[in-house]
Amino acid sequence: MWKNYLLTALRTLRRQKLYGLLNGAGLAVGMACCLLIVLFIVDEVRVDRFHERADRIVRMQTDFVSDGEVDQNSFTQGILAPALEADLPEVEHAIRLLDGSAVLRVGDIRYQEDDLMYADPAVFDVFSFPLNAGDPQTALVQPNSVVLTTSLAQKYFGDADPLGEIVMDGQRPLTVTGVMTDVPRQSHLQFSALVSLNTLSDPGWFYTNWFSVTFRTYALLRAGTDLAAFQRKLPAFIEQRAGDAMREQNEEVVVLAEPLRDVYLHSDRGLPGERGNLAALIMFGAVALFILLIACVNFTNLATARSMTRAKEVGVRKTLGAPRTSLALQFLAEALLLSAASMVVALGLVQAILPAFNRFTEKSVALGDLGLGLFGLVGLVFAVGLLAGAYPALMLSGFRPVEVLKGRFSTGRQGRALRQGLVVVQFSLSVALIAATGIVFSQLQFMQNRDLGFALDSPDGQLLALDFGGDEAVQANLGSIKDRFLAHPSVTGVTSSLTVPAGGHAEAGGVLERQDGELRDFGVEAYLVDTSFVSVYGLEIIAGAALNAAATSDSLVAYVLNETAVRKAGYADPAAILGKRAQFWGYEGEVVGVVRDFHTKGLQEAVAPLAIVATGDFQQLFTLRVRTADLPRTLAELEAIWAEAAPQRPFSYRFLDETFGAQYASERRFGRLFGVLAGLAVFIACLGLFGLAAFSAAQRTKEVGIRKVLGASVPHLVRLLTQDVVRLVGLAFLVAAPLAYLAMDRWLEAFAYRIDIGPTVFLLAGALTLLVALATVSMQALRAATADPVQSLRYE
């Protein structure tokens, strides 16, 4: 019997090639799309799962609570790890990691390494980072030890055995004690080398202070530990250790433990480490399902529309005694067969697309990562086959033989409302996806075009940041190096600072004088700069003066605040804060000026209170304003100046407009991916529409013939045959617009500075969809309308 079903199915497909092709292509593309998104999601979900003891590892976090305000951190105190290990028996190991960067010298070659980490020796007991050489038990025990990743070892020493070799960190020799395999991509911890933590000299507060958080702390809990119970013990632990200090400081310290498996996707804290975007994953998952749904709808629609071609067969089989279940099974089997064939094509497609996909998503996934194995794929084939084929099977098997065999069967009327409803669903999804894509790109454009409050680009040139990593020799000669740069004709300004916009930031707590004359706690983003900072960046002074040497007395440093800081401190008039006292990071000073708000971070984040402190201390980078005419030559000459001024430092520069733009990389990727998915959705929906249009045109041949005989013109007939599509897309637009609006409004909530969604983007999306849909059906309509009426009326 199954052989008979199979034969019928194969021969039906062979005879109705267009139908099979439309359905198969739609399903295959839909499945391929779905598989790729599943691969993406699986890859994200697997982050950090490669550690053998992943289920027992927790990341510690510290919150500070004072005056009811909670300051959340994923960085922790240096004292936390040893204290946990000593006090809590559940803790098998607790280790600290500290992010670092250094210029490392091997022989005569210098390398700027920004991804170093200082680590406790037990790091290899907690995490599964296998060593290819060296002993994990002892590698990081001695000061001045370094474990290189394979790729760094390769970079430094080629194929030579690196064990025991020396890497110079400034004046300090580091001995290579191990080589570990590179950190897998699926890890929220990313580093290129581990240096023994005791290499660093303790500045005094590293390992005792409960109010300074610099380290990442991870703990390996003993097997069988109940995480919730462990978490409940933490308040008592911290009270015993730091209770007195908390009362003295009038600040509460809260220590929390977060399971490692939650860190990447579920943590509500930003730094440190790579973070995934759960909301985006859910959105992509939903879109994958949508696209598959659209493909399934095609199948259902075409199968029911073409039901009359199968009606006779149903009638005959029933007359011969076939029960309904047998017929339903037969049609389901056909759907499954097509689904299986589509899956084979989809797998081929995925294999072909994977390299591009990996470049696009910056991943390296392979089909084997699906993890579902054969079982999952078969499951998907069945799910799709059932979803797509259930309704047609039910409908076809329900035909009454008397009616279908007598031709007393109103062809195509069957399930017409359902088909139109499904088409509306398809095009709603298409319109919504197109509109969403448009909104993502509008927001991107908005962010890129927004006035940042400082001039990335001006007639005087672009801003270029030159990182010298706080090098002491450079710090000691800031003035003379600035002068050397300024002597270059293309350099129109030079300043130095601790941080630059889009390049990390420093939070500072301190006090600020309020209108009542009292000094009260205040938190700011601190910019330690030299006096030319305001002018080189082109910040706009709205009260007081820019920083210059004259503005400060000997004992006080000059503070320039931004508008937000002034407002938050309770001053309505910026001028009122001039001359008020301020003290951050121990620098006593007074406010000499107020600048218009400028963006130091991407537009996802609101401008925070900010203090520019003209101390010239702790400088990390120069910022040069450089004319861009003949840039390669200018850069070469600047590099030569740098090599002379600071031979110990690499010429490590970046243009600020690039780093600022890079903050939107994930949004841009999101938008592009959405664009591709929207295109696919429209494509698949149009495949189905094409099939339906061909069918409907064929069905209405007689009607068209009669109308022509009665004098209808071709344009009139084309309009007649396409007006349904206009109506359906219109309906889809009405469904899609509010849904897309709500979803995208939520997406935009993540941005502190965002566009308002206007009607234009929806109208454009609707118009685009309508245009594509009309183009799809009008060819069929035209063919039907121009056919010879004698041909169409000859039958019946």
């Binding site: 019928t8 005959v316 005694g321 047998s326």
Partner: protein, 232 residues
């Protein structure tokens, strides 16, 4: 074998009632060859469909081998159709996607017979209608008369007690029509009961008895005077 008592069928469409059959009482004995005649729209096909269990009556009784089956569900009717009844249609109704052989084999598949028996019976049925040499052809590759012979082979392959033929020669020229009628007559000779709807008086000549329908009523029953004999 078959007895109908006051059988009636009323179609209701958009508040218009059409009476297709009105109190039709008939008795058909095993081994009979009955022709049903009458003008278009008189209810011939409706009667045949009800007798063939493809349709249900609105009123009256339908006794099949003494059992009243007028209230049977679709499932029960389908069960009874299978193996008991064979159908021959005016438009042949062969499945285009199946070969001659596969079309004839189909009823046996639904009966659940095993492969060897299916093969033997299918070959025998094809031989009987002289279509064995075309077993691998598809219906579209055959003439109308050939298609109808295949359809007859399909109707008899499961050795049904009753064969229902709805204008079996309606789509055929006279020569092919004659061949088909002779085939039906042979089957009847061999013991099959046949009920045939026809417009053609010549075809009706093959029957033992002609039932005339007019506006849903049986208006006369005409027993053929002479015993049927094979024409030379």
């Amino acid at each position: 074998m078959i007895q109908t008592i006051d059988l009636s069928k009323v179609y209701t469409a958009d508040e218009v009632e059409t009476t297709a059959l009105n109190n039709v009482s008939l008795e058909i004995k095993s081994g009979e060859f009955i022709a049903i005649m009458g003008p278009s729209g008189c209810g011939k096909s409706t009667l045949l469909n009800i007798l063939g269990l493809l349709d249900t009556p609105s009123g009256g009784q339908y006794l099949f081998d003494g059992t009243d089956i007028s209230g049977y569900s679709e499932r029960q009717r389908s069960q009874l159709r299978k193996g008991t009844l064979g159908f021959v249609f005016q438009s042949f109704n062969l499945i285009d996607e199946l070969t001659v052989y596969e079309n004839v084999e189909l009823p046996l598949l639904y009966l659940g017979l095993n492969g060897d028996e299916r093969k033997a019976r299918t070959e025998a049925a094809l031989d009987r209608v002289g279509m064995a040499h075309r077993r691998k052809h598809f219906p579209q590759q055959l003439s109308g008369g050939q298609q109808q012979r295949v359809a007859i082979a399909r109707a008899v392959v499961a050795s049904p007690q009753l064969i229902l033929a709805d204008e079996p020669t309606g789509n055929l020229d006279s020569q092919h029509g004659d061949e088909v009628m002779k085939l039906l007559a042979e089957l009847n000779e061999a013991g099959a009961t046949i009920i045939m709807v026809t417009h053609s008086p010549a075809d009706a000549e093959f029957a033992h008895r002609i039932v005339y329908l007019f506006d849903g009523h049986v208006v006369s029953e005409n027993f053929m005077q002479k015993e049927y004999a094979l024409p030379s």
